[in-house]
Chain length 189, copies 4
DNA sequence: CATGAATGAGTTTTCATTCAT
DNA sequence: TATGAATGAAAACTCATTCAT
């Protein structure tokens, strides 16, 4: 028999796929269990509820993306390089894990995210905000509110990703890095 | 008693609000009816099904935004001005109808949009693409694939809007027009 | 505008067709109204309820078949001729009004027939029973309980009709009269 | 707790009774569940839909009657004896399982029977037709189309059964075998 | 008389969750 | 641990009937 952890992983993988396709409310728990190859009872053995499941899933991949993007962040490099690094790492993640990225960023996670999930998201945003504020202090970025520069850049990235999901653009690393240059030109001082 | 059209309108308004808050699958039909002040049976008198309702709603506001943005489009003006005009009109729409814009752009409308709705969206994208291609021919924009420039700009706008919905930015016309300048700097040749 | 009677007739005709195809419970009143070219309200102007409608329909055609079969019944003719006459008249009716006959005889009219309808049916059966008893008294028919001879003959006729409805037999007058001879051989003394 | 099969059986038994009394469309699913002593959800655990349920029920008893009537069919006996055997076995079945027989033969199963059910019925009719054709080839039966002889006999049997259900005749084996003799006289050469 | 929008109870069906095994 | 049958509340949807116009 598989190790317990494998079952939880199988459930998370199945849930991810279904939530991306059909949304949280549009996905039935027994369907998740079936796709994961376990019984509904087993799913509830590993996750307290459907909400708990979606929150674990959300945090798992938010943490993954955070680690991928911010671990070993080049705090001592110039803003131009920092921005490129962050954008490139997000691109690597999105290209390597498109479903996970779609789950995190293409869906409106309304009322079912719990405090812990929201706190994690807030923490990430704060980190990014700090980076931007530092670059603004160095006169490297425009003097817009830092939230605006963040929302703009993030939105642009997600816009490209969405176009790829919807089949209008074929994303490649080259294309994304060209877009990085565009975005830099938008926000640089 | 209210005119029939008023009931359909009341249902559409109620559905909009609830779909924005809780998503399509997360919203129960009787709840929509109650909020609209009609019975569930009446809702089905006006709309064939929950899916039909969401599609009518989607097309209604997609058409509204299209009209607002593209009616009397300044085809003979230079690209810079055209871009500003389109961005400004979208901003006006998004500020005047934030819920409607959120419904259209912040939610992932997966499987429930029908052919007609998808065709309308495709038509809009084609119009925008034509505008971009013309500007590219005039060497006013970067020579990226036009879909990329579109997805980037659109994404950036939506990113700002989302930040506003989530309370991280307070959108104003000034702020949005400053962002417009940023975006232009990102895509101009 | 059509005469009132015409509307009631149109409703009865529409109801007949739909009840034959989908049964009483499987047929929605608004559908009957639509098929009749009137509004639901109008239908209820002419018929108190769906049950009242089906009962009126039932009695209308039971009376029609009774009249067709038993009016001017040749009471003074020999049983052989009486039987042929009755069978032939039923055949004429069934061939001329297959839908009506199907409604009356192919459907199980369970709980929705009212007392008046049941009384009419009982009256008809009594008439037929009297005919059979008289023929038995003349030693023309077998000495089975008269109900048995009646049920047998009636069942045989309906069996042929059902085979026609289900497309297994093409009913013609000739075929039905040949069957009449068969049936006579079954029940004659 | 009862074995799973028992629940499915209980549901089938409850459905049979209610469908006979009120017809398919006149019977609500929760009523079936309640009569079977299970919840509505459980019913849907065993049967995909109300239609699936009625089809399983139909095939179950069609198969039962087919086995009862045609298993070990005396193919080498003379037609007279074959006919008596078939009629007698049908009689035994109808007397032993009047509700089941009524469900199969007294109700008009219009649009809800699926292909598999219709195919099973067609197969049965073919078997009976073959028997009749063979007897016709031996000059034992009248030279009517074999479908006519079949529809006639079948109809006569069902007519008697219906009279019994409606309380006009009390069916016994003796009475049914007397009717068998009648029917033979109707169809023999 | 005629309409058809409106109703709300009823229909079929789904689904998050539990629990006996 | 693991199962999956079982549940019952709630979902989407239908329909007989009414009533303001």
């Amino acid at each position: 028999m598989a190790k317990p952890a494998d079952k939880a992983e199988a459930i998370l993988a199945a849930a991810l796929e279904l939530f991306v396709e059909r949304g949280f409310h549009g996905t039935a728990v027994p369907l998740v269990a079936e796709k994961a190859g376990v019984s509904a009872g087993t799913l509830y053995h590993y996750f307290e509820s459907k909400e708990a499941l979606v929150n674990v899933l959300y945090r798992k991949w938010k943490a993954a993306i955070a680690q991928r993007v911010f671990d070993g962040f080049p705090a001592d490099k110039p803003p131009r390089e920092q921005f490129r690094t962050v954008w490139q790492r997000m691109a690597e993640f999105a290209l390597a894990h498109p479903r996970e990225f779609a789950f995190l960023e293409l869906h409106y996670h309304g009322a079912y995210l719990d405090q812990e999930s929201n706190a994690m998201e807030a923490h990430l945003l704060e980190f990014a905000a700090a980076m931007i504020k530092k670059a603004q202090a160095e006169q490297a970025l425009k003097q817009q509110p830092h939230e605006v520069l963040l929302a703009f850049s993030n939105g642009a990235f997600i816009g490209l990703f969405r176009a790829s999901v919807e089949g209008r653009v074929e994303l490649t690393m080259e294309l994304l890095m060209a877009a990085e240059q565009c975005c830099w030109e938008a926000i640089r001082a």
